[in-house]
Symmetry: none
Subunit: 325 residues, 3 copies
């Protein structure tokens, strides 16, 4: 698909959210196809989780996005999909890897959306592939349980905030879920939710540093709760941490099925996005430090620093490993 | 929400219709939420009327639109919502008030769309607020009745019209109502209708003066008739009046539920839009005078002049009042 | 890409225009990529012509559209692309061929849009492929010249038309060309134009027979004139012919680059669309006969009948040929 002006920011960089949406659509297609490959109850694959995703190089208006997806592991009730995105400049022929993402889907029955069906197993070329997949499966399962606990936070508005404080850049948007946002089951596509989350995170980042910003990475996102057609989604973001050249933004998604009496507003998803600020030449710019005021903000800043250092250490370990080979 | 290239004209000014659509969405959400706040029949709030709205300053691509909504009055069967729109340049931090709009909603039962439900009353901080709200309620009710009468006019096409005549710039579009245009009840969102109306009015204005034009204000719009999913909407606009620096365009919306044999084409909405022409520096430009030919056109020109002078007088009175305080 | 409610009519059938748009995007990507495959002036491939296209089976909401494209011939200044569209029901795994389309593109210089560049030749597996391609090239060139002549017709409005007359169903829409409608060169994508044409043709067909209608085929379309960003497009359609179970609609596209003083309104494209009416079970329904009134209408009806009989004869010849093999 050719990237259009609406897919991008003013500087011409395609929004991370647009890319996440394409990734999720590819994942949903391949996993729904797989889960229906054996005769049985028809089902639709619903996104349960996206692993941490790095945006390796920016994509621009006029470039073509090539999205390819492959099923890499199946457990009894879930499918792991690896999606690769390449940006291709069809004028120069240059191709660059933009993303490699890993997504987990769960097949829900078309007749009864609360029923999770069984997944047909895939064949592995080598035994190790299955073992490694199983390890990834166990890890993500644990992480899913953890995030389910901590989902209770709320963003309060601040009157007349100072620049570079948390309150200054925090933002939220509401969106009424329309039919085109939804799967055949009548629930919001995970990709649509991620696109809205990236939009809010981008506004928070731009308000903080007042320059051109791009998505650098997204931490693992768990989709604990489905969001029904006709609901109102509130997406809120606040900055949690800044390093010299990056900003971490926490994003919450709350769903309010407000016509449906049986249920009040609930937290559907939360995630951390990392942004960098780019100069006109595409070089990373220094980021103003986040001013933390309350105890809570200081704690979150330290937590963010922890995640930042952990990611940095992991990346360095990978690079050393790669250098040794 | 960040304003994108598709939200704006070539000069980068966000279409008035895009803003009206955001306003209406915010109003629909807050009033639907309010009307469902007490146990009872679930309902969806349908737009009944938008009060006259001024576009105080243009919004541009890349700016963030901040929309806030508040319920200011409830009658037995209707809700008054005040919506404010601010444009924020997230690079400079500059904020400007773009619009203040007042909308009236009516709760329709989800089970039976022809049933208007009761609205839970709101609490007023001061008794005067309730009295003033009641006054506004009575006034709009009267105006609604009046416009219901005069809704019969049709736009006839003109062959080979001269520049600056009514026939030269008049325009119409048809639109097939899709699922995303509709509420849960299967009727077109008022905001979608207003966006189409602004689109036609803008084309009429641009055809007349062949420059960059922006919406300056919209007169009160009454939504007498619902429009069903699958209908074809015809939106037609014709210029009625020009002052030195503004153009008034009358817009009609006709709905044709053509698959539904029981009903023919009907007039759903009509309204007056005022446009100004802007130079590249954003200064208002003189507008070519409208050439009226028929008796009808001359009468409509005089009516438009009346509305123009009345608005001007009202604005001057407000300014004097403000200066005295 | 998964087909969404917005891509389809109320009966759930994806609009022919949506499919044409996907086809054209695939064609534009592959031919732009090919034309830039050798070092030289960068260029963008612009759609010059689409050959007659049949819609072999309907596509539905929730199905996945698989689009594949291949370059089948190159002349000095043009590229022939064959695009195949398959619909895949990812729940049942059923796949059906929806379309086979042939498109011609011309490479325009990115620096000077009026300069047509040379196309790098492709390699043919067999000499006959080149000869057949050359034959197709010559044929389309002739047809292009012919349609360039006959492009002058205008649709006049009719007051109070009788049901089933030409005037009763004729329709037109206007569209302001936005940034997302355009290529890197700032001209409207051929696919966007075809989608609007199909939208109008579909409304004409639905107004005539007041049932669920789907696109059955599109005659060859020639794109003689580019349409610039910021123009207003008027798309008008009128019925020209009905057989027992099909309707032929002629569609005109006029462009008005109204900010650009140097040029008035001009005819950009015209084409014939054929629609059929479907019952709830997807069976073709009889179509009310078109009532022709003027001499012109009768002549166009006979011309349409000629095209209809010619297509029918061709199809029968192909079937006999297929049976003999």
């Amino acid at each position: 698909r050719i990237m259009r002006p609406d897919d991008a920011n003013i500087a011409g960089n395609v929004h991370g959210g647009t890319i996440l949406k394409m990734i999720e659509e590819a994942g949903a297609i391949i996993s729904t196809r797989h889960c229906n490959s054996q005769a049985g109850e028809p089902c639709v694959a619903a996104l349960a989780r996206v692993e941490r995703t790095d945006f390796l190089s920016p994509m621009c208006i006029g470039e073509v996005a090539n999205v390819s997806a492959e099923i890499t592991y199946t457990s009894r009730h879930s499918v792991e999909v690896q999606v690769n995105v390449m940006s291709e400049n069809i004028l120069t022929g240059a191709k660059k890897v933009t993303n490699k993402a890993t997504l987990w889907y769960v097949p829900l029955s078309l007749k009864n959306v609360n029923k999770v069906l069984e997944v047909p197993p895939i064949q592995y070329a080598r035994k190790e592939q299955e073992d490694e997949g199983k390890k990834r499966y166990e890890e993500q399962k644990l992480d899913r349980l953890e995030t389910k606990q901590r989902n209770g936070d709320v963003i309060f508005p601040v009157i007349n905030p100072e620049p570079h404080t948390v309150g200054y850049s925090q933002s939220s948007l509401i969106h009424l879920v329309g039919p085109s946002d939804c799967t055949l089951l009548g629930f919001v596509h995970g990709g649509v939710t991620m696109k809205l989350m990236d939009e809010v995170a981008g506004i928070v980042a731009a308000r903080h540093c007042k320059t051109n910003i791009v998505t650098a990475s997204v931490d693992a996102i768990n989709f604990h709760e489905k969001i029904k057609k006709g609901s109102v989604i509130t997406v809120s973001g606040r900055m949690t941490f800044t390093s010299n050249k990056s900003m971490e933004i926490e994003v919450f998604v709350d769903a309010d099925p407000f016509v449906d009496e049986s249920r009040g507003r609930y937290r559907a998803v939360s995630a951390f996005f990392t942004y960098v600020s780019l100069s006109k030449e595409g070089k990373p710019l220094p980021v103003p430090q986040l001013l933390t005021e309350t105890e809570e903000e200081k704690r979150r800043f330290e937590d963010g620093k922890g995640r930042y250092l952990q990611t940095k250490a992991k990346r360095q370990a990978q690079m050393q490993q790669a250098a040794q080979h």
